[in-house]
Structure formats: structure tokens, C-alpha cells
Symmetry: C2
Subunit: 419 residues, 2 copies
């Protein structure tokens, strides 16, 4: 499949972009090659797509079902009872609905941790996006449960071959308070042997630190370091309660972080992401995540970028922190490197996914700086066209089948709460 | 002008709404009256419009021109030199552009403080919205300047008759560090006599508190109280550095506040809005403001509501703070009462401005709670139709003349920075 984007704005110039099977073959002022699909780029700008570093996709089904509650009641009275009733079919529609919302907001890659792995994998393939998918790994320090989880993950790892190249299998150890040392060590070895990414909640809440100190006499990061699981394949999500010692360990192990500002505020986790530490030289690579729709409630990385940049400024008392371009690059270029994706910049020879944004929106005008306008003044609705792996997934904001997906997701959600 | 909205969702029911000259005359299951304009409300919900409690509208011209800078350099090197070159024509196009953006985000009322009062008043009338407009009052403790400003305000007050009912004249004393006691006392008397609202920056930054302590030996609020300017017509904007004593004074004087979370984070003002104090019984009425586009950079009250709610939760460590419905009501009902507007709820006999939101957006589904979905999962783009003072300003997201306004605003902004 060949795509030719005619006369689009690229880094301040008007250019043609020719894409063959997902790889940019030519960027020029006038490309004369024949293409299967021609896109008019007038009044649009081409940019790399966004990468969502942490979510629980199918939780779109629970959007707006339970908000404004203390964390404990929210989980015990609302979320867990619903999750206990989830079926594979529910997850399929919830994940598909999440993919639809992400495409509409210019996100083509997401890092997921949830139940019924294969349902999410199917949804990802059907929607044509890229998913790094893990099954939630919880053993509650029970040896038998640990073995079951290992067996399940071995099965899913084999199964994942079927869903390539859209889906990448990852490990999803839930957190240090739900997974035992032995399970983590097994994941460490298997991950090393097969190059598998490890996606884990890390230092999200104070209770986690307390638990770790009581059980291991170590901080969560120190404990993980003692298991040997930290490496450049380790992706720790949240990280609000990390201290300087923790950040030093993560940096030395080449581990990565995902910053999830909206969820952290909404659930009142009590501390900000450690921008001050990262500012002082502990430059651990990080990208942004939305979290699931029960705790955000919106899968929009543009929204998340603004929160991240503004909270970085406020929490360090320094308005020069996370400037617009740097923030944009974290959500695209750095995120791609964290997931070992190819170079995520629009240059000949590269294979990034591509979005076109509509420059005729009020918030992108007068247009002094497109990165500032995107990060500080806009939201996912500026995205007009989405190209993923060489296929057009959205054009003029239309995603084929969107009404049916919304209808099915709505039906599924209403049936779930009525069960 | 009569408008009939057919079959729209209102508080969970399907209803017809009949509006005559801006007043809701009938809400029923099947209205058979004849209307000049019929709107199909299918798959839409009717809600009161949003009120923007604090902005500098024409600063849309400076969106993205200078970000990520320390406050002092930002003002001295970028904003003030540009402002010195502003003309009446610039302000007209900048304000018109701001009105366009606000209409697109469902805002029909805004509280403004900027230069060239009449240009903004004209823009407000031409766009058909409602503006509470003040001229920035700055005398820098110079008696002659104070007199000039008073003369100007007297002139504008008379002139404002011409722009009724779209425009309401207000006083805009800039801040306690730029306006002397005598000027404030003059505004106090004139405001009392003519029922004029007073719109002032209050306790935004730490330097303001220091200045006030050094000059008056009082906090900014204590100083204002000593001038007698505080009343139910006083609207203090920002308020991040207010302490318990200040809040008690404001409450006793029936003064109001505007919370401006996005700007406060972006400019790193160093403290959060005093939600903790307000939670503890000092319930001063407040609404939300976007601030100008140089320091936000987006005129979207839905975005601002999410920031406000999430920061209230995080800063008080209480996820039940500012729940979705309460947040929505602050931005509509409470805001209307702060500006002495009529009751801002969609009920027969009331005259609120009305928006219709498009329920077919992914972020408003599955649709368990429309207030949660609006506040936590959406943004201004869900607004489909805007009705202000009985006139349709936007339908299907189209505002007549939008392309021309954007073109002129862009041209004006580019010429301004090139001067």
C-alpha cells in the first residue's frame, strides 16, 4: 500500500510525503510517484503519532460509572465487583472502543495491562493500531497462583505470534504488593531470554512504600533491584513516590518510567512525579500515559502532555520546565525509544505512524509555534487524519465503523453493570 | 425570535424546549408552538452555557508567541513590548477571535480586563455574546495618572450604554501593587452608587503579599478591606496566596473569587487555590476563569473545570472534593450568580444561554453520568450548538464568518510582532 500526502506542512515547509508499506520513501517539494491513496495536505501539518505509555484499555466500559470516591471504596464497592463480572466479549468491545477513542486523538500505540489478553489483542488487530499488551500478573504471594500465572503467560507468549506485527506480548506484573519475588525472578529470566518488556505499577501510592518497607525493609525500587528485574526493558508506571536513591537505581539500570499526571491528581496519590530529581541530572527516560478510563477518564495524550508540562513547572517552581517541544518529543520520540520502536520522526527512511492536524482550528492560530499550540492550546480534536503501519485509519475525523463500535460498547457497559 | 429545540435530552428525559426572545417559555414532551427556528435535538443534550470568570480576550493574538519563560523575562521581554504596540484595531480582531473560540467551546459570557475597552465591546456585540468588560486601571501610585484613569472610566461608563445589553461595564483595578488607595476608594463609591462590579487580580503571586506587607503592613485582602472596596460586587481573581484570615474577611464581605488553575500552574505561582480553607467552612462563592491566551493558552472552561476538580482533590488529598456535578454547577449556576445574571438553569421562565452537546462522541459514552463525562472526559469540542440571548450563534459547530475572523486575527498578530 502506497500513500502520498500532497502539500502538507512539515517543520514549517510545504512538502509531499510518499509512504510505502509504512516506510517514508520520499519527502520532497513535488513527488510524482503513483500512489494507491492520495491525501490532500492543504492547511494541515504532518506530525508523528502519539504513544500512550500506560492504560487499561477496556476500562472505557467503566467511564463515568464511579468517580469522586475515596480510593478504597471506589475499588471495593465499584471497580472490583464490576471486574469480577467481565467476560472476554466485554473486553473485546471495551478495547475496541478504546482503540477508536485513541485513534480519534492521534494515538496509534498503547501499552496495556488488563484481563483477557486475547480479546484486547483481537481488538488491536481489528482496529489496525499497535498494542503492547500484558495480562495483569497477580499471585498474592501464593505459590499455586504464581504457577498458574506463569503457565498463562507462557501460553499467551506463544499465542502472541498470531497477532504480530500489531501486537507485542509484554509482562504485566501488577505491583510489588501483589506479586512475589519468585514470580518476578521468573519474569526477569524469561524477559532476558526473549527480549520481553516488563510493564509494572511502581511507587504510585504511599501504601506501596509502606508495604515494601514492612515486608522487605526496602523501598519498592530497592526491592525490585534486589530481584534483578530492573533493566532497559523495565517500564515503571506512575513513580510519584520515588526518592533520589530510587531514581539513581533506575538510572543505573537503564529502566524507564511512564508519567501519568491526570490519574495521579484524580486519585489524589499525594505526591507529584519527581520532576525535581529528574531536573537535577537523574535523567531517566520517560513518556506519558493516560491510565484507564475509570481513573482519568479520557484517552487523550495531548491533554496529558499539557498536565505533565504544567505540573512540572508548578511542582519545581520553574516555568521553563518541560517546554512544549520537549514535552511533545517525550510523547513521541522518547516514547518510541522506550518501546524499542523504530525512529519516530518524519524523515525519509523512517517508519513512524503519522497524524495530520487541522491548522484551521482557532486554537492553532495565530500559529507562532505549532508545538506550543498543540501542547498548551489544543486537544485530540485537532487530529484530522491518522496513518498507522502504512494504513489510513482515520480521515476527516471519520473512522470506518465508529458508530457500530460505540453502540456495542455502550450496550456492553450497560449489560455489565446490570448483571 | 422564537427557537424550538425538538427531542433533546434534558436531565435524562427527551424534551422539547421553546425559547422566546431568550426566555424559556415551555419545556414539554411535545411542543406544538410555531417557531422561527427549529433545531433537531436528537442525540444531543441541552445544558446551560459556560461562563468564563476571568480573561484578557485580545491576548489570543499572543498565543504561542512566548512560553516556557521565567515570569519576569516573559513580561519584560515579550508581553509588555508587544502590548505597548497594540492598537484599537488589534484589540477588535483579537477579541473577536477570542469570542469565536469561546463560542466554539460553549462559553457565552466572559469577564474581561484589557486595553481599548470599546474595541472589545464592539467585538462582543458583533459576535452576539455577553461581555463584562473593564479597562485595566493602573495608576502606579501617581495622582495624575489616577485622575486620568478615573476620567477614562467615567467616559467608558457613559459610553457603555450604547453597548447594552451585550456589554456590562465593570471596573478593572489591576492589583494592589499597581493601584493606589485613593483610586480604589473612588471606585468603591462609584461602584456602590451605580451597582458596578469590580474585577481585580488578588493574591496571585507571593510578591504581591510581600509588597502589601511592606507598603501597608497588611495582607492584600486586609488592605482592600481597609479601603472599604470589598462587597458582593467585588470579584477577586486567582487567590492562590489567600490565608485563613483573608478568606474570613472575603466571606464576611460577601466577596467572590475566580479560580484560574491552568494559568496558575503554567506561570508557577507557587501555591494552590485555597480549597482546603474553602472546604473547612469558608465557602466563598467562586467560579472558573481561563485567563488570557498568553498564559493558558486555551479558552476552554471544560478543560479548566477538569483542572480545578483534579487539583482540588490532589491538594486536599481528598478524591471526593469538587465532584463533577458541583464543578459543573460552579462554572454555570454559581458563576451566573456572581455576575448577577438571571438563574442559569434550563427551566421554564428562566433565561440562561443554552448549549447542545453531541452525545455521539466517544468520550460521552457509555454515558453513565453526563456531568462526569463532560468534566473528566471531554473538552469544548463536544459543543455542537450555542444559543445566546435567544439567538443561535453556532450550529453543527459552524459559526458564521469564522474563517474571515481567523484570517484577520492571524494577519493582525503577525503584523503586531513585526512592528
Amino acid at each position: 500500500m502506497n500513500i502520498l500526502i500532497k502539500g502538507v506542512q512539515l517543520d514549517g515547509n510545504t512538502r509531499d510525503i510518499f509512504i510505502k508499506d509504512g516506510t517514508i520513501e520520499e519527502i520532497s517539494e513535488n513527488c510524482i510517484r503513483k500512489a494507491d491513496k492520495i491525501i490532500n495536505g492543504k492547511d494541515k501539518a504532518a506530525l508523528p503519532s502519539f504513544i500512550n505509555g500506560h492504560t487499561h484499555a477496556a476500562m472505557t466500559l467503566m467511564r463515568g460509572y464511579a468517580d469522586d470516591m475515596p480510593l478504597k471504596n471506589w475499588l471495593e464497592e465499584k471497580i472490583w465487583p464490576l471486574e469480577a463480572k467481565l467476560t472476554e466479549e466485554d473486553i473485546y468491545w471495551g478495547s475496541k472502543f478504546a482503540c477508536l477513542e485513541m485513534i480519534k486523538n492521534g494515538i496509534t500505540v498503547f501499552n496495556d495491562m488488563y484481563w483477557f489478553w486475547e480479546a484486547t489483542a483481537k481488538a488491536v488487530c481489528d482496529m489496525g493500531v499497535r498494542g503492547f499488551i500484558s495480562a495483569v500478573f497477580i499471585d498474592m504471594f501464593d505459590e499455586n497462583k504464581g504457577k498458574e500465572q506463569i503457565d498463562l503467560n507462557l501460553k499467551l507468549f506463544e499465542l502472541s505470534e498470531k497477532y504480530k506485527p500489531h501486537v507485542t506480548f509484554t509482562f504485566g506484573p501488577h505491583a510489588i504488593y501483589t506479586v512475589c519475588r519468585e514470580s518476578l525472578q521468573w519474569m526477569r529470566d524469561f524477559s532476558e531470554k526473549h527480549g520481553i518488556l516488563i510493564h509494572m505499577h511502581l511507587s504510585e501510592i504511599e501504601e506501596e512504600t509502606k508495604f515494601s518497607q514492612e515486608k522487605y525493609g526496602l523501598s519498592p525500587t530497592e526491592f525490585l533491584n534486589s530481584t534483578g528485574i530492573l533493566s532497559d526493558r523495565f517500564i515503571g508506571c506512575h513513580g510519584c513516590w520515588l526518592d533520589e536513591k530510587d531514581c539513581t537505581i533506575l538510572k543505573n539500570c537503564n529502566a524507564k518510567l511512564v508519567h501519568i499526571p491526570v490519574s495521579n491528581l484524580k486519585l489524589s496519590v499525594g505526591r507529584m512525579f519527581p520532576h525535581q530529581l529528574l531536573k537535577n541530572g537523574l535523567n531517566i527516560p520517560f513518556c506519558f500515559g493516560t491510565d484507564g478510563c475509570a481513573s482519568n477518564n479520557h484517552l487523550d495524550i495531548i491533554e496529558t502532555m499539557k498536565y505533565a508540562s504544567l505540573l512540572a513547572k508548578f511542582s519545581t517552581n520553574d516555568p521553563t520546565m518541560l517546554p512544549a517541544r520537549e514535552t511533545f518529543d517525550l510523547a513521541t520520540k522518547t516514547a518510541a525509544s522506550i518501546f524499542f520502536l523504530p525512529e519516530w520522526e518524519i524523515k525519509a527512511g523512517n517508519s513512524p505512524d503519522i497524524i495530520l492536524v487541522d491548522l484551521n482550528r482557532p486554537e492553532l492560530n495565530p500559529g507562532f509555534d505549532i508545538y506550543s499550540d498543540i501542547v498548551y492550546a489544543s486537544n485530540g480534536y485537532i487530529v484530522d487524519t491518522v496513518i498507522c503501519m502504512g494504513r489510513v485509519l482515520m480521515e476527516n475525523r471519520y473512522v470506518p465503523g465508529d458508530e457500530e463500535i460505540m453502540k456495542q460498547a455502550k450496550k456492553t457497559a450497560k449489560s455489565l453493570v446490570a448483571r
